[in-house]
Assembly symmetry: C2
Homo-oligomer: 170 residues x 2
Amino acid sequence: MDALMDKPASRRRPRAGAVASAEAGAQEDLSLGLLNSLVGFHLRLAQDASFRSYSRRVGLRDLKPGRFAAMMVIYNNPGVNQTALGRAIARDKSTVTPLLQQLERQGLISRSAQAGDGRSFQLHLTAAGERTLHELLEVALEHDRKLDEIVGDRKPDFIALLKRIWREVG
Amino acid sequence: MDALMDKPASRRRPRAGAVASAEAGAQEDLSLGLLNSLVGFHLRLAQDASFRSYSRRVGLRDLKPGRFAAMMVIYNNPGVNQTALGRAIARDKSTVTPLLQQLERQGLISRSAQAGDGRSFQLHLTAAGERTLHELLEVALEHDRKLDEIVGDRKPDFIALLKRIWREVG
DNA sequence: TATTGTTATACTCTATAACTATA
DNA sequence: TATAGTTATAGAGTATAACAATA
């Protein structure tokens, strides 16, 4: 198993400061070793970069990815309840509650009692919510267009892989 | 732009409870609409799933992905300083500090003053650190093997895409 | 008993800004 | 002035567990 621990021999004990003094663009200068071949590591960095980029774009108009996803699901599944929504976006119901409370306070969604079941709410977007979603969608698509440029025609394949990871690794 | 907002007509106003009553495996039952074609959304879910899976595996032995990545970089770049390390793993130096303090307290890394520059530390793994990294690496590889199964021979391509996202979208 | 939603609580990760000490 | 590292602080996001109302 020691092959796992191999690192470039020339790096074993570099003269002091050789690596440490690399300043700008350091991430290219540093060796990542095996880290470089781990899907999980790159998944983390890519997601991180994508998230930050989206946040920057959407920044002024407030609203974060989690809320955007929630609104999309409500839009596409009017009347859905909180628990099912949570499952759809892979978040616990206790995470969903404050999210929806905020959206409701902002007048973007409505929560109405369900006829048959007194425990659930039916979730709907308000007119204002649809307008907001519309704007957010444009920002999201603009952001994703940037990703599209990178992914190109491998996009369907790429998304299929990400879906399988989500479903099979979780 | 209204094509953006299209949703399945049959879902426009489902009879009450139709969607909300879907319980197990709800994420397949709910329509994600355009969300489904956004790279960013799937990136988020896939990363999330991968992270949770890794945490579960490594759980008992403590230590999270961020720390693992830091140890890998130190291992592969002995003598690196904290700022450069931060850049390599895409984290601010103020995020790196407590991380390294903990690793030092646990005897996994050493921080020694640098000859030429009194401001920097040189980071090295201790013998215990190398042993721990070795174990963690096995867990990480085991985890990544699961991802490998999914990605298959598209792995180089897949990683290349993730890297480009990280570098170009950030 | 099981489920929906709420709350209390706590934890992890992260960054910004202000600081010290060096350069 | 500029850089390395630390600290104080704050904020996002999340989950677990206990709970009330309802099924």
